[in-house]
């Protein structure tokens, strides 16, 4: 019996070994060949081969995205349309959950297992470009092609003097309000405080304004509105400890200490719950918030109020773009697909079906779309928005800045000291930052 088992085990080993031996060389060899071809052939020759090969066998352009629900439906529709009309180039779209797509992309792409195109918010561009995961669009992104997008959505896609993708949509925050509680949205911060005070009550635990004040993303409208910034692109320096930042932090602290319209330490789903329970008439949120609002709430959305007339709040803008990866072997076909997905026609589908705030400027010239309040308001808000930094360094500023905000707004810390501390921490982290 023992002997028999022994023989069986040995056979199993042999079988496993054989399988591996048979399957491994093939892809390996293909990769080798592709590499050799790519490196030796001159670029123009490579593109010629690509063109010549197109009619023979269909090229596949893989596209990764993390869209869900309606956005995904819209994208799938566009992909199906393309695949029907373009037998030479087939798009293969893969939906990867948002919490996994970044890791998956970063692991797969250096080994050549990643996609040709990926849809991602622009703040990853600096990192990925620096790590060699993306390739610049070069000539393809000629001025007339970029001209069809809102300029604020294109600028953040430029990193290291090159452009790395075409914008699909943008995300920014605006003021959501409960129509039942507030018929007219406030135009200035002063009005907001005044209206908000009327709703603030210890007893019912209601507050005039609920948002994650201690998070840099939601603080950005005030910081940039006051003329401050987190990252100086020219000097390549983090700028937390500035007079503008102090003014912004003091303004928000006033919401908590003087006006008392701001609850302490709320964020995320607590804010959603407060809005849905009618415990706050105002919140600062992005378009993603719409699907979280309860059915029975009569809500409206408005451009963020101004600090004073002519001095608007300036929220962060995230430009969601389709990016070309370094590993792509079908650059020309991928660029065509990219062009198609960001075309004005495709934008209509993405807006109608996917409810995206698309980046195409033409859409917002059409009164048909501008009649929709959400479209109108977010488009108007995009005008005063500032792109989130594309560089890698400012990413380390988030945690210390947010911690400083919490201390200043809710714990009464001295703004100057707290921001200077955050500056020191961030500078230190930048110095320790890996390449």
């Amino acid at each position: 019996m023992k002997r028999l088992l022994f023989v069986a085990m040995t056979l199993l080993f042999v079988a496993c070994g054989k399988k591996e031996a048979a399957s491994t060389p093939a892809p390996g060899a293909a990769v080798e060949a592709a590499k050799a071809g790519e490196a030796v052939a001159a670029p123009e020759a490579a593109s010629k081969t690509a063109e010549a090969a197109a009619p023979v066998a269909p090229q596949t352009v893989t596209l990764w995205h993390s869209y869900r629900d309606d956005e995904r439906k819209a994208l799938d529709t566009l992909v199906a349309q393309w695949n029907k009309l373009q037998p030479g180039v087939q798009i293969q779209a893969l939906a990867v959950p948002f919490d996994a797509i970044i890791d998956k992309f970063q692991v797969a792409t250096p080994n050549g297992n990643g996609p040709d195109l990926i849809i991602m918010a622009h703040d990853k561009i600096g990192l990925w470009a620096r790590d060699g995961l993306l390739q610049p669009l070069g000539d393809f992104a000629a001025k007339d092609r970029l001209g069809r997008f809102l300029p604020q959505t294109v600028k953040p896609l430029v990193f290291d003097k090159a452009i790395w993708g075409l914008p699909m949509a943008f995300k920014t925050v605006a003021l959501f309000y409960n129509r039942k509680l507030v018929p007219q949205p406030p135009k200035t911060i002063g009005q907001l405080i005044e209206v908000g005070k009327g709703f603030t009550s210890e007893k019912t635990e209601s507050f005039g304004l609920a948002y994650d004040a201690a998070d840099l993303y939601f603080h950005a409208p005030f910081l940039y509105g006051m003329g401050g910034k987190v990252w100086d692109e020219d000097a390549k320096k983090i700028t937390i400890d500035t007079p503008e930042a102090i003014k912004a932090a003091e303004l928000v602290r006033g919401f908590y200490t003087e006006a008392k319209i701001l609850p302490k330490g709320v964020g995320g789903f607590v804010v959603t719950a407060m809005f849905n329970d009618g415990k706050t008439p105002f919140t600062i949120q992005g378009p993603w918030f719409i699907s979280e609002i309860a059915k029975d709430i009569d809500w409206g959305v408005a451009v963020l109020p101004e600090i004073e007339p002519g001095k608007p709040l300036r929220p962060y803008l995230g430009s969601e773009a389709v990016l070309l990866t370094k590993q792509s072997k079908v650059r020309d076909a991928a660029l065509k697909v990219m062009d198609y997905l960001t075309s004005d026609e495709a934008a209509i589908t993405r807006l109608e079906m996917g409810h995206q705030m698309v980046a195409n400027a033409k859409i917002y010239e059409n009164p048909r779309w501008l009649e929709k309040p959400v479209v109108r308001v977010f488009h108007a808000q995009a005008e005063t928005s500032v792109p989130m930094p594309t560089a890698v360094e400012p990413s380390v500023a988030w945690a210390p800045y947010s911690a400083a905000l919490r201390k200043i707004i809710f714990s009464g810390a001295d703004p100057k000291t707290a921001l200077a501390e955050a500056q020191a921490t961030a500078d230190q982290a930048v110095a320790r930052l890996g390449k």
Partner: protein, 585 residues
Amino acid sequence: MAPAPQPPQPGLVPFAAATLLLAATLVAALTAGHAALAASAEQATRLVRAASLADAAAHQAAIHQDDATARDAALAAMAKQQAPLLTHVAVIASGGADEFGIERGSGVAFVSQKLAPAESGALLEAAKSHATAAEDALQKHQPMDGARLLVVLPDATQALVQPFRAAQNRPEIGGAVALVLRPVVPPDAPWLLWLLPLVALAIALGARKPLGERIAPTVAMAVSAAAAVLLLPALPTAASGGVQVLADGWLIPHSAVGTVSAAGTSWVLGSALLLTALLGPVVPGLAAIFGALRKDPVPYFYVGPALFATGVLVFVPFAVGVGLSFTGPNGQFLGLANYREVVETAMDPTSATHFGRTLAMTVAWTLINVVLHVTIGLALALVLNQPKLRGRAFYRLLLIVPWAVPSYITALTWKWLFNTQYGPINAMLALCGAQKVDWLGDSLATNFIANLLTNVWLGFPFMMVVSLGALQSIPADLYEAADIDGASAWQKFRHVTWPLLRPALFPAVIMGVIWTFNAFNVIYLVSGGGPDHKTDILITEAYFAFSVLRRHGLAAAYSVLIFLLLLGYTLATQRRSKATEAVNE
């Protein structure tokens, strides 16, 4: 418990084989590391030779105003020096940036020459990787119709840089892409050092009798380790293991920095050191296995697949991790620099992360947690073990629930419970008339308590289940006997329950300590290490190094330190647990 049978004394042959195997592994690993470095140094030398050829071309490009003439002159110069290893030389004209900040230029198309028939595979590969890197940089300047140009310069001397300065003064030329290479040749290791592992083997065999089976191999391996340490300076410490690429900022708007890296060198070295340090004491065991393998190989074939899988899934990643901890962002060998950085944070009071503070926090966190887990778990187990208690099964089920729910869900739920404004905990405090507490705010104490409560909730069911199992195996007649002797409840617990519970609880506590030491989920999700990293434990700080600082080497260094701490702890407790077992026998 029956006394364990004395393991058979392995013979001389298996013992020698085991020692030899380890020594050979060590030598092989070090040799491989050294060979890889030597090979890349060889590449570097060749690249530099090629570079001097290309330099001639670059020079021509600079002194001739007309591009066509420059190209011809460069070609001629390269041809004259024969073996034109480098294909492309680039001079790029830039048209400046557009309103988006994208640089738009018009390039100067240039020299394109076929690569010389593969003079050396390695060199070609290296040249290609440089060419690709340079092309990337060039792609940003538009349009580039002709072949991409690449200049490789040897050392950054003024004489070689000068032509480019001249080139930069020409209005249509925006800059040049240059790779400045410096070869780093590893000095040859004194060959006698390579004999040290053999010396180690001799010690292992010779000192077996006088020093004993257990100590001799450790001494032998210590000699090997000394050899490894002595060999260390013989390996080049330069960036990228063999070739250092310097890029000159003023010269190049887009410097294409490529490296010829001796991939894997550092981890080979790291693993060799680790092998040496860890495997010495393994020799006797390995010898025993070899002995048994000779006698009856079949069982080893049964465990073979599992061993293989463990090797691939555990030991290989572990070795890679250890190797990574000696490397920098580009995979270059840094020696102990990462470790130094971790430890140095302990001496800098202004540092955001502070190794000493974090270590103290980790230890305090682990101790307080485990004490609470055991106390609460044991107390509940004692209650549940009461035969008179009705609905025992129901309570037991209920109390195991915290354990069954995924820990990140629990952690997020607790985070909500601690919410300042609307959290149920503050609501209960308010009912009692107390002030609202800003749990996850700026206070170290409240953040720590929030983490602690969450982890106690997660941790006690395991201790309860273990205790309950052990309690049920205590024979009832012992208690009867104690009753007859008139023992009080406390005396029964102290002298009957506790001694019989201890052997079961001890391994559970050891595991509990290790889990709690690395309780990433709770810290990360509840307090997030706040305020200001003060509730960070080592593992969350490692994650900070990885995710925020993007320093894989630094994070790996943290992990190795955590491993060493836990290894020391496990070894120490193993001795003790053996001692307790002996007491019970």
